[in-house]
Assembly symmetry: D2
Homo-oligomer: 259 residues x 4
């Protein structure tokens, strides 16, 4: 596969998004196959015990630990837009980053990346002031912290401008349009459910290309691909993706080895 000289790809998943008393099926299988985990920090989901257990899974399966902070909206899973002030944004993020930091440190594991959740993640796609704020806040805590930014997002551009460490994320099971934006979930065809096509799209993304919903070929660049673990068949799909990447000799490595 010398022609695309791929330095490798990270596979990340949002994790710890339940309470500790709720069981998840197949967690071992998930952690055997991903290289980075974004851990919910108790605002949109998760709790301290769940965070610790997820960090332990990361440690056991050699998965990179990252924070997955969200809005304080458990009923809406952090997906609903809320008008918060810059002061609220700052301390909501620091609070969540700090809580995971201490839990992970007590388990001997560093927190290496931050991926915003839900409405916050969507907001930095387009909002430059918010992107700058988030980058400033994260850098305050740790200059080496990797920010996960959506492909084609304002946050990606701003992070590059500011010289921040950033990992670009792509979705293999979501359609992009010709502008590089994710097609909203409510649009027909926005979610790709056929496992074969998802695997193909992963390989395409790694090569730097994705077919848009209009049928065009879009140049894409991604350091990490987001995998969902909460749907039926998701876990076997992840195994298929790993197999396909292995077949193509594409290294699957955590994002801190890529950016």
């Amino acid at each position: 596969m010398a022609e695309h000289a791929c330095k490798g790809i990270d596979l990340n998943s949002d994790t710890g998004e339940r309470y500790s008393f709720q069981k998840a099926l197949g967690e071992e299988k998930l952690f055997q196959n991903i290289t980075s985990a974004n851990i919910a920090c108790g605002f949109h989901a998760g709790d301290p015990v769940q965070m610790a257990r997820t960090v332990r899974l990361c440690r056991e399966y050699n998965v990179q630990v990252g924070a997955h902070p969200g809005l304080p909206d458990p009923l809406g899973f952090g997906r609903r837009n809320m008008e918060i002030s810059p002061e609220e944004l700052e301390y909501y993020l620091l609070y969540q980053l700090g809580s995971l930091h201490h839990i992970a440190r007590s388990l001997g594991v560093p927190v290496k990346h931050v991926k915003l959740h839900g409405a916050l993640y969507n907001a930095v796609t387009k909002d430059e002031a918010l992107s700058r704020e988030v980058i400033r806040i994260v850098n305050k805590v740790d200059r080496d912290m990797i920010l996960v930014a959506p492909f084609g997002s304002v946050m990606h551009r701003v992070a590059l401008d500011l010289g921040s460490r950033v990992a670009v994320e792509a979705f293999a099971d979501r359609a992009y349009d010709r502008t590089g934006a994710l097609v909203p979930r409510k649009v027909e065809g926005s979610v790709i459910t056929d496992p074969g096509r998802v695997v193909e799209r992963v390989l395409g993304i790694v090569r730097g290309e994705v077919t848009t919903i209009e049928g065009l070929i879009l140049r894409i660049q991604a350091d990490t691909i987001c995998l969902h673990s909460d749907t039926t068949g998701a876990l076997s799909l992840i195994e298929n993706i790993r197999r396909a990447l292995a077949n193509e000799n594409i290294p699957v490595v955590s994002m801190d080895q890529l950016v």
Copy 2:
């Protein structure tokens, strides 16, 4: 006042125990007079913005910042006993300590002490296993962290045994019995409301003596005295206490200079 050669006393107060949108009267006056602040971390009370604002007040008035972690019981203000597991205790504490750590660090202020809140504070008065756990957890995070332990508590003894840094706390407005235990609030005479007597008791505690509810003289040792700020007259009482201590040439210094 050479006869009691007092090395000084710390005055602490529980703070940040509201939401950020709720106003408190007289905060400036409070922070001008105390030397240590125990900041609620969002479980029994408080929120990230309130934590940051309280840290800023500490910075402005040169007050030592400490964590005031509690049980996840906002409706009961962390005062109700809850049966939690050792795993829950550990990560509830680390979560709260971490959240304050990052917020305080972002404001350039170190977190120097931990004082448990409510039902947790009461529990370590008598529970040796719990005391050991708490000390182990706090030391894991920072070996220099000062633990605030009630006078006469099991936790105080255990901390000394383990060589942990500990500050002993006394209450000037609460009655002690002959065993050194606080008289429960529901008992008549358990709360001292007369300001003159409270000031007197502060001076007594500094000298190492307190009169019990039975009228006996009890030897007491305290590094820090807890002052309440939420009742009418509390703020002017604090000023009176400061004046009385100044008159006696007793240094009022933060606990990290004492233990």
Copy 3:
């Protein structure tokens, strides 16, 4: 005072907006002077015990009980805009109305009105679809329930159109502009702090006139005036208002006697 033939005015206040363990000063004085209480239902503030205690105060002082439902945003006190779906709106309201209904019924007191809180209250000022939804939901529960609508609001107009029972609310300590809209809090002069002027404005509102921030005389109609109880001097201001209304022989009665 025959010239304005005032049928009377209701004085309402937002209440129960703390947790039950938090003390409020002067509650008795407040309940002696108001005729309707809007009780927070645990979403933006309040808890079940606090709700019951507030209903008991209403019963003791013969104050009309109303629900004061808000958004599920305790950190933001229900003041922040949140994007919620019609389904969420419907069941958030029914949940809160039901919770107060059972608590009040167990104490032998009917719930007679609903006043939305914070961001929801502001939204119905302008949003017709939302206003229709709220009216439909409230009527589903009880056709006799009185809706409190801001003067000049879309909700007021819609409620009249639909034949719903509605009480119009005015603010004596907030400036109106020439269009009848409240001047936003951040604008200089939007909040009237001089007690004398507030009393004057109450009398003006009862007479049907208010001076706008531009100095014009605006015709106003109000069944109820909102009084705040959380600021210094608020309670003595309420007493002054009662005295002034008594001097003018204006009956102060609960809104269910007016609409």
Copy 4:
């Protein structure tokens, strides 16, 4: 099956114990097979939208709606003992019952029973004062409300004494000891996982007999059997139970037809 002249059995399940954004697999299958649903009311789990959706499922599949109130402990799923006062108990229950009442009424469905959740459910097994309180509170709201009480519990006896409507509940997948008490989960053999044995035990319970963990035959009486839906195989087990009951001509009817 004339010999035991069984008047029928109700099959109940705890439902709505997630947030509305969380998907559950197999809900239709569950609701096709149970006759009573206990709906979480937002304290230990659930939210207003989830409550409404669950009521709608009940309406669609003709399942009796009941309330499933719990302690305000979402992190502990209401399973942890919390020391609450009688006043807190009363208004926590009324709050939750009222919230479900209004949501169900808006959907045209009556709430016919109450089953306590978690630590509260366990407490009424033995605590007579608490049982009296709960019965008094529920009767205050609705004299016809059916209380679900564990077989062999103090609450069952107290409800009979007070002439309250009560449905006795048994567990087919949990071991009983010779005193009629449930064997604690941590004891080996306390949970019966073999589907064949669970079906057998259901038939035994309907006939009035259960084999204890010591191997004795215990007389048991039950109006309703609790079925779990959250484990692998639970749904097909429920279908097997329905089939076995049908084979024995045992009517499966909602508890309001039995008590």
